[in-house]
Symmetry: C2
Subunit: 360 residues, 2 copies
């Protein structure tokens, strides 16, 4: 259904205005603001039409109009213009780029922290998913006579370690030998590929102290399993929601913060639009940035919030998502622009630093 130029302009104007003011916008305001020499009465008629079509809503009879989810959708897909970062924002961005790179988790967390400060919304970051769960390398490190450390580096550069109490006393030298055996036998394997045959192979190679093999295998599979199903979500800048009048009701704020505190459900909310193929093409914005508006989010708590996400990569494998959560009355244009910059930069760092792992 096409809208006609004038209706588009009016809709655009209403939404843009509402995004900054958070107050229902009236016909008079639009009439003045919009350059067209139209009277408020004309605008009023058009707005009534837009409401009938579902793009606008009226909180009550004698109030101005407010965009509906459908209105925002249209705005995002058709009306919104690209936002250009201003000088100050460029400066901020630069300051982020000077952050040092260390462990991957830290890079990701720092990026999320920055994102929340930069956009003034709540930012999130899902931790790398280990889809295939292949082992890059395993290492055993003796700590003392009774315990050792298992270190496991996966395909995607994720690292985990776990301390294991030894069922029997073995020498450090033995642990080193054992470590070498494991490394040789398990490197490149996925969890599925570690079967009885493989275990037999390892057993033969280690010659003695078989008793410690099973606990080790146990721990390895546990670790991989952990990492694999770990729906870890890091959320930053939760208190930013206090900047927006939509959360000025204590109940609302509470509900939302409790939701954000429950990593489990945040993860769920973010994972939801996984049915990528079913989703209409128009819901995607350029550069793989995806916007989910209001009720498009499954969870009830999210019905008056929007989510803007981007993926991050190592090589060309999707590792996880970065994004922001804010009220549906979000400045989508700015949000997209900022997230775009940051995710690009993040990809750059990750690939410079971790790409090695995924070569070959």
């Amino acid at each position: 259904m096409d809208l006609g130029e004038r209706k588009r302009q009016i809709l655009n104007s209403v939404i843009s205005e509402y995004i900054v003011s958070a107050e229902p916008v009236g016909s008079r305001h639009i009439a003045k603001n919009l350059g067209l020499g139209l009277s408020s009465a004309t605008i009023r008629n058009e707005m009534a039409d837009l409401e009938e079509m579902g793009y606008l809503e009226q909180p009550h009879t004698s109030a101005g109009r407010v965009p509906s989810d459908k209105g925002y959708r249209f705005y995002v897909n058709e009306l919104m213009s690209d936002y250009e970062l201003n000088m100050k924002e460029m400066e901020m961005l630069k300051s982020m780029m000077q952050l040092s790179v260390g462990q991957m988790d830290k890079v990701l967390k720092t990026a999320a922290d920055f994102l929340s400060q930069f956009t003034n919304y709540t930012a999130f970051m899902t931790s790398p998913e280990m889809k295939q769960g292949a082992i890059k390398t395993v290492e055993l490190v003796p700590i003392d006579s009774g315990s050792m450390l298992i270190i496991l580096v996966t395909n995607e550069g994720v690292m985990r370690n776990k301390r294991v109490l030894l069922p029997i006393q073995v020498s450090p030298e033995f642990i080193h030998r054992f470590s070498d055996v494991l490394k040789e036998k398990l490197s490149g394997m996925t969890l599925e590929e570690i079967n009885l045959l493989k275990i037999q192979e390892i057993k033969e190679a280690m010659q003695e102290h078989f008793e410690i093999l099973f606990p080790v295998i146990d721990f390895i599979s546990e670790i991989i399993d952990d990492v694999r199903k770990e729906t870890d979500v890091y959320v930053s800048g939760t208190t930013n929601i206090f900047n927006y009048p939509e959360y000025s009701d204590l109940g609302k704020a509470r509900e939302f913060l409790e939701f954000l505190d429950d990593k489990q459900s945040v993860a769920q909310a973010l994972m939801e639009p996984k049915k990528e193929e079913e989703e209409p093409e128009e819901n995607k914005s350029k550069n793989k940035i995806r916007i989910t508006i209001g009720k498009e989010n499954g969870l009830d708590v999210m019905h008056s919030s929007s989510v803007v996400t981007a993926n991050y990569y190592v090589g060309d494998r999707v590792m996880g998502k970065v994004g922001i959560i804010g009220p549906t009355r979000m400045d989508y244009s700015k949000a997209v622009a900022k997230l775009d910059r940051i995710s690009n930069y993040l990809n750059k760092i990750l690939n410079e630093f971790y790409y090695e792992d995924n070569k070959e």
Copy 2:
């Protein structure tokens, strides 16, 4: 200054009542509630005295009385009775004890999460401080031709790792050899003890590829430094504050949540009463549980909150603090009892599992 039995009883009654009701308590209520056959008028006189002495306050002329910080202090030190966990609470505690032990961070985080659920206040946990910063063991693990992992286990069982890009190509075998050298030379050392002589020793032992020594030393000191000054605080159950009317004002809630979000200042707030010796003995409760009430906390934001902390140990070295933060109108008796149980249990786990590291 002694109070006399009756005043003590009345003060106790007022505070106990206020802790559950959060409403200013009036003379009439106390007259009825307290078994003594006194009229409200008498109570009124006594309460006026208590106010004059600074134990009680009046929000406004025609309201009941509310305890002051001084009142709470007196209550905590002199009046409060030990709280006995009831059946349901015992059950909960048991369920916590079944949690599996894995990496130390996780144990600590889980304990904090549990603590917040158990007490219904906000819980915190400071990460292990590495006071001496001695190296337990160092291990280098080749990842690929261009990089390796440095793993460092400290005295207290804290583990860190960092990936290092290699300035030159070296064989995995070399890295192993190098690893053995480092382990031999550095185990048990503190950062201060790694001096030029030591470095020379290592250099001699490694024979070739000296170029990679310095980056490694660099990283080691960086890691130790990181760990040492890392004022990491983990906060759990922030949204619990919504259960208490003192935060039912949006501004208050916001202020407090923003404070909790800023790990830096939380750390500061918790570290403050470090001048242990100066502190009057009475501020300490039995079993090393420390209570800081209202304005006793340095930071402004904390002026209407109280903090209850305990230390946790490995061996008999203090590793960090666990505790809870709540309104000054906190149920101190319950809070102390619960924290006591949990910190004891935590110590048990930590010592069973990590004590090895600190033997010898």
